[in-house]
Each structure stands twice: as C-alpha cells, then as structure tokens.
Symmetry: C2
C-alpha cells in the first residue's frame, strides 16, 4: 500500500507538469495572437482553456481521493495539499492567457497593442512563457535553482508592468482611451501570470526543502 501511495504522489506531480505544459503553450499562442491580431489562434487558446480546467478538476479529484483513501500525514499530506494549491494557480494562469486571447478577439481586426508598447508586451509575454516552461522543468526535475530564475523573471515582468504606466503617463502617449484601457488590462494579465508562477515555484520549493520562502503578496 505504501509503495502505491508514493507512486500516486509522483503521479500528482506529473499531472501538475502536464497542466503547466498546456499553460506554457496557452501563453505562447495567446501572445502570438495578440501581437498579430490572429483571431483564429486566439479562438484556439480560448477553446483550449477548457482542457486546462478539466485537467485541474481531475487532479483535484485525485488528490481528494488520496486524502480519503490513504490519510497521508506529515510531508505527504503537505504534498497533496500543495498539489491542490498549485493546480489552482496553474488553472488561473490558463485563465490569464485566455484573457490575453480574448483581448485579441475583442479588438480584431485591429491589434490590441498601441505601437509604443509592442516590444514591452513581447518581452513580458516571453518572460511569462519562460516562467511556465521553467515550472514544467521544476515540477519534473525539482531542481531548485529554477525557483530563483522564476523569481528573477517575475521581477523583470513587474518592472516592465511599472514601465507601462510610465509610458501611458508620458506627454507623447497618443492611444485612444479605449486602447489605453486595453493596454492596462493586458499588462495586468501578464503581471498576474508571473505572480502565480512564482507562487507555484515557492510551493515546490517548500515541498522539497520543508522551508517556506515568504513572498510579499502582490
């Protein structure tokens, strides 16, 4: 029984990694749709989010079943509870990628991004995509140096996010108010995506080391 349970715990980790793969793909496609006003790609991201949601439900049911049938304690219990929390964060990251795609669809055939912010968003999106890919690697390998890399990427996203507001407040900002609102939301979506990524990374770290790295809340 004990052996089976350890296998179940490893399966939870694999399920989390599977979700993270889909999240990384969602962010990559969402951003490409956003930059190029590719409404078909946007629709793909929006539809694919249901798969992420379904996988989260599966994982959560599996975790609750483990709690019920195995009554884990100590580190194993923390791992199952941690998996429940990580799945929530990953699901939310999928939602945020979908929100980016929804902005694409809303403004089609126009592009969402004002010209002044195209490169900023591209950088934010690349860093978001990179965070999601590193989460996959972290969940599979438990190489904790990836946590610091994810934290660093998120700090860069936060700086870019702050920069968006500076750009918007500049005298030469000439986008329409509606476009300014879209630009604000898009930046916020990238920023939240990064925060959730850090949250997942810190949970993996905690489960591996038993030490909680406190993170200032966003």
């Amino acid at each position: 029984m004990r052996k089976l349970f350890q296998e179940d715990l490893l399966n939870l980790g694999d399920q989390l990694a599977d979700i993270a793969v889909l999240v990384a793909e969602a962010m990559d496609k969402a951003y490409r749709s956003f930059e190029t006003a590719d409404v078909q790609l946007a629709e793909e991201v929006i539809a694919a989010d249901q798969r992420i949601d379904a996988k989260q439900v599966d994982l959560d049911e599996k975790a609750i079943e483990l709690l019920a049938l195995q009554g884990p304690v100590a580190a194993d219990l923390r791992l199952v509870v941690g998996a429940l929390r990580m799945s929530t964060s990953l699901e939310r990251m999928g939602d945020l990628a979908r929100h980016i795609a929804q902005l694409t669809r809303l403004r089609y055939p126009d592009t969402v991004s004002p010209t002044a912010l195209v490169t900023v968003y591209r950088e934010m999106a690349e860093k978001c995509h990179s965070i999601a890919k590193k989460l996959v690697e972290l969940l599979v390998t438990r190489q904790l140096d990836l946590v610091d890399e994810i934290v660093a990427l998120n700090e860069q996203i936060d700086e870019l996010h702050a920069g968006v507001f500076i750009t918007i407040a500049k005298p030469d900002w000439d986008a329409s108010p509606a476009s300014t609102a879209d630009a604000t939301l898009a930046s916020r979506f990238f920023e939240r995506f990064g925060d959730h990524g850090v949250s997942v990374a810190h949970k993996v770290q905690y489960l591996v080391t038993g030490e909680w790295e406190t993170k200032p809340t966003a």
Copy 2:
C-alpha cells in the same frame, strides 16, 4: 473523538466567517478612502490586510492539522478541503480591497476616480461590500438563498464593469491617460472581488447540498 472533530469543523466555519468580516470592513474602508482621497484610511486598510493574511495562515494550519490528526473522509473531507479553498479566495478579496486603497495612496492628494465614474464605482463598491457581508451571513447561517443574492450582485458588478469600458470609449471622455489606466484597474479590482465572492458562495452551497453549481470562469 468524533464529537470533538465536528466541533473542529464548526470552528473552521467560524474562522472563515471571521475573515469574511475583516474582508467586508476592508472593502468598505478602501472604497471610502478611494472616493474621498483619505490617505490615512487607505493606510489603515493596507496595514489591516496583514491581519487577514495571518488569519488565513492560521486557518490553513488548522485545516491541515485536522487532515493529519483526524483523517476525515467523505463530506467531512470535502469540508476541510473546501475551507482551504475558501480561505484562499477570502485572502484574495482582502488583497483586492488593499489594491483599491493603494490606488488612493498612489494618487493622493488627488482622488483616483474621474468624475464620470464616481457613482459607478460607488455602486460597484457597495455591491462588493454587500457580497462580503452576505458571505459572513452565509458562513454563519448556511441560508442558501444568500447564494443567489450574491450571484445576482456579482452580475450587477459585471454589468457596471462592462459599463466602465463603454464610458471610457465615449467621445466626451476627457480623463488623462494615467487616470484612464487607474480607472481600468479599479474597475477590474471590484470585478475580481465579486468573482471571488461568488466562488466562496458556491463552495458553501456545494458543502451544504453536495451538488456543485458550475460557474463559468471569469
């Protein structure tokens, strides 16, 4: 032992209600600070958010202890897992109230809200406050008609949120781009607060009835 456990479960409900009381208070004060540019009140909300965070950590530790010591199954297990999830949503609602207060502080001594949106934000904030107060009542009384009331309030918030973007896109919108960005974020914070409120309400409903009311994700 069995009796003690039922008492522990009731205590979890009380702890959730305690957090919801603080969240309701935070939203009320955050909005008053936002409308009147009362930076002192805003600072109070920002500082008080740490109490919400600490109470969430307490509740989560208690819930994990229950899982470890009592190995609950079936409905009791769902209740403990549900409590963990509700605490996450409530903590997030506290964060969103704090974000409103942070906007107040950022723009002080100016008010954040463009004149055209003062009444809209007031309505959104009142509905958010009302949702949080109804959550307290729901957690204490388990009167499920409150769930529908919370869902209805959230729909009204969503409509007001959509209205903000219509207002911003109108030709007579004359707020500065920075103010447009603030206005967008504020509206988003209220909207997310309502969504989390519905999420908590649906979890209470599920725990009472055993039937999951699916909710389209935001």
